[in-house]
């Protein structure tokens, strides 16, 4: 995933022009989890929605598996699994039907749909309630179906927008394990959160976002070295509240934030 100068400006009748995202740039590679860490209203969800083609960027560009989010939205979405607290499931479909439906509409080869659904039903322990309607499931069960729904078409890129919001500790931990497993399978993962411990545990690169800008980006170790602080919470406060700067700072104002090396504007060949 390659993002350059992504900007989103809304017009709100009461507030006028609102720059929800203002020139965000980053790259994320296969087998990497890039965490967008920010407070509520920092621009995480708007960035995610632009990457998933639901919103159209006001400026800048983003490419996913070589496809432009503006010019080739269908190709982008076929390569993408999008999960957020607001992506609900159809209550009147069963768990199995939900997976079949999303496999088909995401253009997964029809002859392989049944086998893929079967695989996910076992992987996410959906077997017992696979034929129950979603409306009858508990929130933990729904979460499992939702994650399975996100990966049912085996997309190379996954976006998790605050996936643990509203989950209890056990379900949140399960979610983290799933994300880790998917990274180990070589998926490119963008993970947004405002929970520090999650970012510390999961993310290879942490981009701290505030008021639509990425303030600093790097691994946890990079952040510790650059700020001289140990805990991510302190690092976050250093950048967001205290207005601190570092060598990792403001990449969206000029450079490109990335956890991996690579020249600007050149995507590395996807790993097979």
């Amino acid at each position: 995933m390659w993002v350059e100068g992504l900007t989103k400006t809304f017009y709100d009748e009461s507030r006028g022009e609102v720059h929800a995202v203002d020139g965000v740039s980053f790259q994320c590679h296969p087998g990497e989890v890039l965490g967008l860490l920010g407070a509520n209203g920092a621009g995480k969800t708007t960035t995610m929605r632009m990457l998933s083609t639901i919103l159209r960027p006001s400026a800048g560009t983003a490419h996913l598996m070589g496809h432009d989010v503006v010019a080739e939205p269908e190709e982008v979405r076929a390569n993408l699994g999008f999960y957020s607290a607001s992506t609900a499931l159809y209550p009147r479909l069963t768990a199995r039907e939900t997976l079949e439906f999303f496999a088909r509409v995401n253009r997964y080869p029809p002859e392989r749909v049944a086998a893929r659904v079967e695989e996910l039903v076992h992987r996410f322990s959906i077997t017992e309630f696979q034929n129950a309607r979603v409306e009858k499931l508990s929130s933990g069960m729904k979460q499992k179906v939702s994650i399975a729904r996100t990966v049912v078409h085996d997309p190379p890129v996954l976006i998790f927008d605050e996936p643990t919001v509203g989950l209890d500790v056990i379900n949140a931990l399960e979610m983290q394990e799933v994300v880790r497993a998917l990274r180990d399978e070589g998926k490119t993962i963008i993970f947004s959160t405002h929970i520090m411990s999650e970012a510390e545990k999961l993310c290879d690169t942490i981009a701290i976002i505030n008021a639509g800008h990425i303030l600093a980006s790097g691994s946890l170790e990079d952040h510790r070295r650059a700020t001289g602080k140990h805990y991510l919470e302190d690092i976050f406060v250093y950048y967001v509240r205290d207005g601190g700067t570092s060598s990792l700072g403001r990449p969206d104002a000029g450079g490109v934030a990335s956890g991996a090396d690579g020249p600007i504007g050149v995507l590395p060949a996807p790993e097979s």
Partner: protein
């Protein structure tokens, strides 16, 4: 993909047991129960009224006469033998009128002398503030005693008592009159002659006319209510549940999602319509619903196909409108709030078919929904006016396609997800937004023009209409657009000087265009002959001209439109659309819209033709001025020869004039082409990715 989306949409609907129960099963069960109950109540009520004892009192100075007449009336048999025997009981007369008012008595029968009656009427007339009894009334006031029956129309028993007593009293009077005639030796025959009217319409035609009045509104009602079952859930429901974002992040194309939902709306809408019509048919067969006597409808296979053809675009339009509403509404509640205005939007035009004198061979064929409604009525009575049926089909069909495309765009609207309106052009506003708003402005102006010509035409007169429409509507409208969108007046009005040769081309081109325009009008009239009343309205211009000096006529009909219509149509409209359309479709669109503003169907082809030529002139010269001169010369050349009696109004041009004029027109446009100063097309707005001024990097 489409099949998958559609299949799951229908599957989910059928699993919503409550919706199916309320929307489909409940009406099927409830309708017969309600009909049976209402019929039982009606029968019982009728019986109660017929079998009631009608209490009455006799009052007034001529009470004896009234009593005598009532006595005779009650002795005779009821004129309506189908009713139960009436039972009238006389009560004490004092305060009878107020007793009727409070309901203790059904009737108070008042006998009045002629003088009393005259006085009472005069008082009543004074109370009504009508200036007392006039001479005409004096003439018709009776010279004999008057029997007045006081009753209460809001009480069914009182009303029935009055009707039954009155019928008997009328019969008594007739018998009395006959006996007087006989006593004076005058012959009284039962029959002095029989009046009979012969209806030459076949039963099928009558039935068709009746069915034609209700069929379209009924089908629309059923389609709207049936389609709503799916539509309300299709987008606004998905928004509320949070499933829309899930769906929009799949690889499905927006158009596939919309088409699947639209197919589901159509399927359910048609299914509900068919079920309810079959339901009605069952009631008719079992006699629960009484059809008018001798109702017969005969439809040929062709008529049936035409009906289906007319209903097809209507079905698509209904489904698109419902989905559009669903996309616009943020929740179920909002959808329900907007549903009623949408319902009226369809039902009111459909009811145009019930208006007296509404003929398909008129501009109504161009009004979506209304044209279909009138067309359906005409097909049902066995008339197939193919050209106008095709126009009705096209007007509704084109609207349906437009609505379907608009619906597709609804899903791309970011407001659906983000909750705020983001629109790049809207954000920048001004000139960037104008190309997307210009048609709305002209649509509004068209509606205003229609309203003015329909409701205020006569009051304003020709002079008033011309000045109001052209200077008021077009010029003020143009200025408002320029101000609202911060347009450069020079660019918007194309106020540039053309190549000098353009003036020569204009002076030879304008008369040639008029002649070829007449050819276009005559060719169209061969396809659709002009009705008599339309010819009369054409002639009104000439009549008005008789009361107006020639210079004023030329000013109003040639100079004013030449300036102000050009500023509006070849000025701001052309400017607004030039960013969206290539030159040829641009000239055609401007021409067609100009034609549509002339309202009358027979004037549309020649004026659309003129409008297209004028738009081409502006595109070739880059200037509005030659088009203004062309327009003014065209109108003056059409008017002056008739006003000066050089030719008569029904003068026919010789056939050779058309090819000669066409050749001159070719010369004029050749001159314009070789001396062209092309119309400067405004720059398209920068795309989102280029808005920051940087070229988008390629990966």
């Amino acid at each position: 993909m489409l099949a998958t989306l559609y299949r799951y949409e229908i599957t989910m609907l059928f699993r919503d047991a409550r919706t199916i129960l309320i929307a489909v099963v409940a009406p099927l069960v409830l309708f017969p129960v309600l009909i049976l109950m209402s019929r039982a109540v009606e029968r019982r009520d009728q019986q109660r009224v017929e079998e009631a004892t009608y209490r009455y009192a006799v009052i007034g100075s001529e009470a004896d006469l009234a009593s005598l007449l009532i006595e005779r009336a009650l002795e005779m048999a009821d004129p309506d033998s189908g009713l139960a025997p009436a039972s009238f009981v006389e009560q004490e007369g004092s305060g009878a009128d107020s007793l009727v008012r409070i309901g203790s008595l059904q009737l108070a029968v008042e006998g009045l002398s002629p003088e009393e009656y005259r006085r009472i009427r005069a008082e009543e007339a004074a109370n009504e503030d009508s200036g007392g009894v006039d001479i005409t009334m004096e003439d018709v006031l009776p010279q004999v005693p008057v029997i007045r029956i006081h009753y209460r129309s809001d009480r069914d028993v009182s009303r029935a008592a009055m009707e039954r007593l009155r019928a008997r009293l009328v019969e008594v009077r007739r018998l009395h009159r006959d006996s007087v005639y006989r006593a004076h030796g005058l012959p009284v025959t039962e029959r002095v002659g029989v009046l009979e009217s012969q209806n030459v319409a076949s039963a099928a035609r009558e039935g068709g006319a009746l069915l034609g009045l209700i069929l379209t509104p009924l089908l629309l009602f059923l389609m709207l209510s049936g389609g709503s079952i799916v539509a309300v859930d299709a987008i606004s429901g998905e928004k509320e549940r949070g499933t829309l974002e899930t769906l929009l992040t799949t690889a499905a194309h927006r158009s596939e999602i919309v088409n699947a939902k639209q197919l589901a709306v159509i399927t359910v809408g048609v299914a509900v319509t068919v079920i309810n019509l079959l339901n009605l048919l069952v009631y008719v067969v079992f006699g629960l619903i009484d059809l008018p006597q001798n109702l017969a409808v005969q439809l040929s296979a062709v008529s049936l196909l035409v009906l289906l053809g007319l209903f097809l675009p209507l079905t698509v339009l209904v489904s698109s409108a419902l989905l559009l509403l669903s996309g616009y509404a943020k929740s179920y509640k909002e959808y329900q709030m907007y549903f009623f205005p949408l319902f009226l939007f369809f039902i009111v035009p459909a009811l145009f078919a019930t208006l007296p004198g509404m003929d398909l061979r008129s501009a109504i064929a161009l009004v979506p929904v209304a044209g279909v409604g009138v067309g359906v009525r005409e097909v049902l009575v066995g008339e197939h006016d193919w050209l106008f049926l095709a126009l009705a089909f096209l007007s509704t069909g084109i609207t349906a396609i437009g609505a379907a495309r608009l619906t597709e765009r609804t899903l791309s609207t970011e407001r659906l997800i983000s909750g705020v309106d983001l629109d790049e052009a809207g954000l920048r506003g001004g000139p960037d937004l104008f190309p997307r708003r210009v048609l709305r402005w002209f649509g509004l102006m068209w509606v205003l023009l229609l309203v003015i010509s329909l409701w205020m035409g006569e009051e304003l007169g020709l002079r008033g209409q011309l000045l109001f429409n052209i200077m008021g509507l077009f010029f003020v409208g143009s200025l408002l657009m320029i101000r609202t969108y911060r347009l450069d007046p020079v660019a918007a009005f194309a106020l540039r000087m053309p190549h000098p040769a353009a003036w020569f081309a204009t002076l030879i081109g304008a008369p040639a265009a008029l002649v070829t325009g007449i050819g276009v009008a005559e060719a169209f009239q061969r396809i659709a002959p002009v009705p008599e009343r339309v010819l009369r309205s054409f002639g009104e211009l000439g009549v008005a001209g008789d009361t107006m000096p020639l210079w004023e006529m030329v000013f109003l009909v040639a100079v004013v439109p030449g300036i102000f219509e050009e500023l509006a149509f070849r000025g701001v409209l052309l400017h607004g659309l030039s960013r969206r359309l290539r030159p040829v479709p641009l000239a055609l669109t401007v021409g067609l819209l100009f034609g549509l503003f002339h309202m009358n169907l027979w004037r549309i082809p020649p004026t659309a033709y003129l409008g297209t030529l004028l738009a081409t002139v502006v595109l070739l010269t880059g200037s509005i001025y030659p088009a203004m001169l062309w327009h003014a010369v065209n109108n003056a050349a059409a008017l002056v020869p008739v006003e000066l009696d050089w030719v008569t109004e029904d003068y026919k041009l010789p056939l050779w004039a058309y090819p000669v004029a066409a050749a001159v027109l070719v010369v004029a446009f050749t001159v314009l082409w070789f001396t062209r100063r092309p119309y400067p097309v405004p720059q398209r707005p920068a795309t989102a990715s280029r808005a920051d001024g940087r070229a988008p990097p390629r990966p």
